[in-house]
């Protein structure tokens, strides 16, 4: 298969979307927390928890949708816990994020062990998978139809979340309060905004998105839970959010760049290039882009 054939292949397009979906959902979650001034370093742990909750609940109830709901609730609960640790106990925000990641990595292993007796994988459970969506009419359009239709329902959800979150941040009172708290919590408090409440809501929303991203991993990307299956995606999502400059559309653009890099890494392996070096690409790209952008910002000190 030649390089050009791979790029124009609908399967490549589908791979980009598959890789993109969890990263985009997670990065949007980090975006909301970041704009409220409570940067969510615990995203990796929230995703992991969501991935396990989705598998367990969908296996017990037989419903993928109930699994997804459980994943979202679990992520939101961790977000609430993190908000309590930071604003209730006065713990450091970054340390709270690291603690969430550590607790989730151990806690999901324990949870899987007590639910199935296995510490490594949930292969024995008959867990659900989120359905793919065949778009009526669209799928019949020649050329574009097969590209756009037939992807996982959470992929469409992730893409739909971009304009929704962009509108929420820019045009709603809630979004305005989030931004006010993030820019200057003291000034926000003087005009009667409860900083703690807004940060709690932002972290809960962030956690819900994290849970959803995790559910996609264990109920869409693959159909099982494995120990530490997020494999650093929560950290790439952090890099994506920072590259996206704090806007939903910027985050989408950064996600597409990283997803294409990762897809290239996956497809280039078929040419016999070393697998490990290809796997480096999605991690090197954000370092290069971030450095270039901050270096340019430094050259023009007017900035944002």
């Amino acid at each position: 298969m030649t390089g050009l054939a791979i790029i124009t292949d609908p399967a490549t397009f589908a791979t980009v979307l598959r890789v993109m979906t969890p990263l985009l959902i997670a990065a949007l979650g980090i975006l909301i927390s970041d704009r409220a001034g409570v940067f969510n370093l615990g995203m990796e742990g929230m995703m992991l928890t969501g991935a396990l909750a989705g598998v367990l609940v969908s296996a017990w109830t037989g419903s993928a949708w109930l699994g997804l709901s459980a994943a979202i609730v679990a992520g939101g609960l961790i977000g609430a816990l993190m908000a309590f640790a930071v604003n209730g106990l006065g713990a450091n925000l970054i340390i709270a994020g690291i603690a969430v990641n550590l607790a989730a990595s151990s806690g999901t292993t324990l949870g899987l062990f007590f639910a199935t007796g296995d510490k490594g994988m949930s292969g024995a459970l008959r867990s659900g998978v989120m359905p793919s969506l065949d778009l009526p009419f669209v799928r019949d359009i020649p050329g574009i139809g097969p590209l756009v239709s037939g992807h996982n329902v959470l992929t469409y959800g992730a893409l739909l979340a971009v304009p929704l979150i962009s509108l929420m941040m820019a045009r709603t009172a809630f979004g305005l309060r989030i931004r006010a708290v993030g820019v200057d919590p003291k000034a926000a408090a003087t005009v009667g905004i409860s900083v703690k409440l807004i940060q709690l809501q932002a972290l809960v929303l962030s956690g819900m998105l994290g849970g959803m991203a995790g559910a996609y991993l264990s109920m869409g990307y693959v159909s099982w839970f494995a120990q530490d299956m997020t494999a650093g995606r929560g950290f790439i999502a952090i890099a994506i959010e920072v590259m996206g400059m704090g806007t939903a559309w910027g985050t989408l653009a950064a996600t597409i760049v990283i997803a294409i890099a990762e897809t290239l890494a996956i497809t280039m392996q078929t040419f016999g290039l070393p697998n490990e070096l290809m796997q480096m690409i999605p991690y090197v790209v954000p370092i290069v882009i971030l450095t270039i952008w901050t270096a340019r910002g430094r050259a023009r000190p007017a900035g944002r």
């Binding site: 640790a85 209730g88 106990l89 006065g90 713990a91 450091n92 970054i94 340390i95 709270a96 690291i98 603690a99 969430v100 990641n101 550590l102 607790a103 990595s105 151990s106 806690g107 292993t109 324990l110 062990f113 510490k119 530490d228 650093g232 950290f235 790439i236 952090i238 890099a239 920072v242 070393p274 490990e276 070096l277 796997q279 480096m280 991690y283 090197v284 954000p286 370092i287 971030l290 450095t291 901050t294 270096a295 910002g297 430094r298």
Partner: protein, 355 residues
């Protein structure tokens, strides 16, 4: 009695009480469904103290995380939140293995050469994010976070193409030659001479940080960058120096871990010792002298977790939950800055002053 010391003791007592409460709070839900809840708690808390061999296991676990805790302390003291230590450990272990396998033997100095190579190569992981930050303002927390994974895959590539033993079942290096391995100190454990190096390193860095001019400069730069600039300190150079020292210690941690414990290098994931180092630095309040007890304490928890797994059948991952809860509790200003605590400390100082 010195009043500052007494006030410090009050804080220490509160810290210990908080840690004890957290351990019990996490452990009790796991103990209650068990036939003998008391036995579960006893296995966890008393098991590690039950014999010299188990105390040796505690020190064995404490060795690498004392190094990474020290590395995190130095790096954080410079004011940068550089997370490169995690991959520094990986890289240090890999480079030390490569040195042991590819370089000729240096007789009794073979381990020393391998550790130096590991430390120098491992320091790259902390130096790059520091350099990107100082030169181009790239946020070091984010770049170091993703750089960890880039270094991991580069390292696995090197392992696969240059060090891999094709006769071994899975991806691992050739057997590390015996003269490169570190001496074992206690039979029945994997406690090795690296533990002594770790102790010496903590004392050395403590003396550097608190009793030398260059250490004082680093503390000033980290705590008050504006004040440091006002004093005319070369802040950039001092910060880079701290990244380099932190990275060297992280690389050393990996080198000593691999040469002291394993017959072959077989890490294909990040070992997680860097994250544990951050926890140690926090527990030790970023003081090198406290790194040793903090590392021994986490080693004690880990051995307690092994007892739970072996005797009770509860996975040792419980330790991760305990550690995460302790992390939050000991940094909670709601406890340590509580008005009652501050009043108590003030009263002690006043009584002392009146005498």
């Amino acid at each position: 009695m010195n009043r500052a010391l007494l006030a410090g003791l009050v804080r220490l007592a509160i810290t210990l009480a908080v840690i004890a409460a957290v351990i019990l709070a996490v452990l009790i839900p796991f103990a209650l469904p068990h036939d003998q809840p008391g036995a579960v708690v006893a296995a966890f808390l008393l098991g590690p103290l039950s014999s010299v061999r188990h105390l040796g296991n505690v020190a064995e676990y404490a060795t690498p995380i004392a190094f990474t805790g020290l590395a995190a302390t130095v790096v954080f003291r410079s004011g940068l939140f550089n997370l490169g230590i995690e991959s520094g450990v990986f890289l240090g272990g890999l480079a030390a293995t490569a040195a042991a396998l590819l370089l000729p033997s240096f007789g009794p100095f073979t381990p020393l050469v391998a550790i130096i190579v590991g430390a120098v190569v491992g320091s790259i992981s902390c130096v790059i994010p520091g350099e990107l930050r100082l030169r181009w303002d790239a946020p070091e927390m984010v770049t170091s976070l993703v750089l960890n994974f880039a270094i991991l895959y580069a390292g696995v590539f090197f392992l696969n193409y240059y060090l891999r033993d094709p006769a071994a079942g899975s991806l691992m290096s050739y057997r590390i030659p015996a003269d490169a391995r570190l001496d074992r100190l206690l039979s029945g454990t994997r406690l090795n001479s690296g533990a002594i190096v770790a102790l010496a390193a903590c004392l050395t860095v403590g003396i550097w940080l608190y009793f030398t001019r260059s250490g004082l400069n680093l503390r000033i730069v980290g705590q008050g960058p504006a004040f440091a600039a006002h004093l005319g300190l070369p802040s950039r150079r001092i910060i880079m120096q701290a990244q380099l020292v932190g990275g060297l210690i992280a690389g050393m941690a990996g080198a000593i871990q691999v040469l002291g414990l394993y017959p072959r290098f077989s890490w294909t994931q990040l070992p997680g010792l860097g994250w544990t180092g951050i926890i140690i630095a926090i527990l030790a309040r970023e003081n090198p002298f406290y790194v040793v007890p903090a590392a021994l304490f986490l080693g004690y928890l880990q051995v307690g977790g092994d007892f739970l797994a072996r005797d009770i059948g509860i996975p040792s991952e419980v330790v991760g939950l305990v550690t995460a809860a302790i992390m939050l509790a000991v940094t909670a200003s709601a406890i340590f800055q509580h008005p009652a605590v501050l009043r108590l400390i003030r009263r002690i100082r006043r009584v002392e002053a009146a005498q």
